[in-house]
Subunit: 341 residues, 2 copies
């Protein structure tokens, strides 16, 4: 679907862009759940009877959330959908429909816009979700991306942040810190290893895991890791009104992160506080352990116990020798950091 011409948006126009996008969506034509897609005042869609409507919205702003010289537009398109789909995963839901708002610089090349849309739609397709509408306008100051995702979940399968129980084990999927370390290296002017770069630029929403955990009722509380492990665990603690112990030695780390920490152990903070893992963090009762082990095998996705929920307040790093060190449940704060991207 790429074009080799160098047209830009000014020559295409708003309605030309919408027509072009509709062409890319021809494979949605068979979906009877969408009564009206792009092209009316609203989309009109059906939902499974009796299920709750889940909705999340995320902004991605150029030079705040991404830099165009660090990412391909295709990866950015995938990521824009993925970070939203991850929120549906965190509730145990099934993703259904996406709406895309785009503020576009007038000089954006048409093949870059095509690459963005192709990435966005590929990520939607991989999740079985459909782009049903949106809004586009020009921007005088870089790309603005606003994505809204809708999913559904049977009411008795909804997994909240607030459901944690004392004695629950804390699990995370995948590995932690890959994305944050990639960003850390990019900011220092270094090229991150390709596996880390991919984890940063093109994260994978853990939809199958979230859904499986919800269907089987294995998790009491769940969240996706977008703001960093400590901050996102902090949300569970605050809403479940509990404390937690984390074993830093138990954190699942990729070979690349492990190698880096061997040389620069002080960067453990990047792993603990850096965001954008888009893994799931959930609390589960100890008796769920065997079924979670089976689930990890079935999904070919590591699930690692990294600590536990406890009565009280606070967050501690607890080492096997019995020592406890309090840590602040804090990650990246959008209004307090002065550092772009």
């Amino acid at each position: 679907m790429m074009t080799t011409t160098t047209h830009n948006l000014a020559s295409l126009g708003e309605f030309g862009f919408i027509a072009r996008l509709r062409q890319k969506l021809r494979d949605q034509a068979g979906r009877t759940d969408v009564v009206l897609g792009i092209g009316d005042d609203c989309s009109a869609c059906t939902l499974p009877a009796g299920e709750l409507l889940l909705t999340s919205t995320d902004l991605l702003i150029e030079n705040i959330h991404f830099r165009r010289d660090w990412t391909s537009l295709y990866a950015l398109g995938r990521k824009s959908a993925a970070v939203n789909l991850s929120d549906i995963a965190a509730m145990g839901g099934t993703p259904r429909y996406l709406h895309l708002g785009l503020g576009l610089p007038q000089d954006l090349a048409l093949d870059e816009l095509d690459a963005f849309c192709d990435g966005f739609l590929d990520e939607c397709r991989a999740a079985g979700a459909l782009l049903c509408g949106g809004d586009t306008c020009r921007s005088q100051t870089g790309m603005f991306i606003s994505v809204s995702v809708q999913g559904t979940v049977p009411a008795d399968q909804l997994v909240r942040r607030s459901g944690g129980q004392p004695g629950d084990r804390l699990y995370v999927s995948g590995t932690l810190g890959d994305s944050a370390l990639a960003l850390h290296l990019l900011r220092q002017g270094q090229a991150p290893p390709p596996t880390l770069a991919r984890r940063h630029h093109q994260p994978t929403p853990r939809l199958a895991l979230g859904r499986a955990v919800a269907v089987a009722g294995l998790a009491h509380a769940m969240i996706d890791l977008s703001d960093g492990l400590l901050a996102d665990l902090g949300h569970i603690l605050q809403q479940s009104q509990l404390a937690a112990c984390l074993d830093p030695a138990a954190l699942p780390l990729s070979a690349d992160v492990r190698r880096h920490l061997n040389h620069q152990p002080e960067d453990l903070d990047v792993v603990l506080r850096g965001g954008e893992d888009y893994e799931l963090l959930f609390s589960a009762p100890p008796e769920a352990a065997p079924r979670l082990e089976q689930l990890a095998v079935r999904l070919a996705l590591p699930l690692t116990a990294i600590g536990s929920l406890q009565p009280g307040e606070g967050l501690w790093l607890c080492r096997p020798d019995g020592s406890r060190q309090p840590v602040e449940a804090r990650g990246f704060n959008h209004f307090q950091s002065g550092q772009p991207a």
Copy 2:
């Protein structure tokens, strides 16, 4: 809910802002249709059984869609919700839930942010709709507002753009061109009359009209006027595969617009092509006329027949003397205009 201190966002922080917003939403606590509002990965809401989910999303970008020196932040908050609610009206739906994405300059004063939120929530309340979630981040380049609205409509009451029939009369609600003329004057450095300024800065979504027309089955096709009368009528013509005649003498104009056109008749184009009326344009069979007259009285909202749909293609200004002048179904194009706001 205003504060007189001069705190800004950097001192409040992202989660401080979210906590503040939740305080403003305490009156939603009794709504049992919202299972989870702000504060989890997704909102979780119920919908009336068997109804279609309607969704629309709109972007408002500073210096493209608005200028902070021309509007109060309270009015901007109301407008941000209103322009989205208007899309629900255009489908004949009932608005339910909104999600708000905000990119905020770090120096935005907290009382300005409060005013924006108060306006947004007042508009939601007036529509019986609830703010259920969103995303906030800092912006290096002015305010960036992304709103997503959800509503519902029984499937047999959905009013599309594509349903127009030859012989239908074309109706518009309210008056046309007030908003566009206000903007035209602002751009020329003049202060618009207060009634026009209010129509531009704080438009009224025609929710009761859209719903009444849908319930009674009075309209074949409907759209809200955001891009300008000619452009939006063009969408109905394109999707209904029909032509239209408009009688320019029949256009409903406010006293302020009429007075302006007396002196500057060349500005009729501002009325025909200028956007942001947020009135409803719909096509209805001639036999619906008596019921539409009753509806106009009941809602205290003028409904004016301004032309008709005809077989074929094209858009004409048709005068009572029988003369026909072709016009282009074109309004404001976001990527081709070089003029901000």
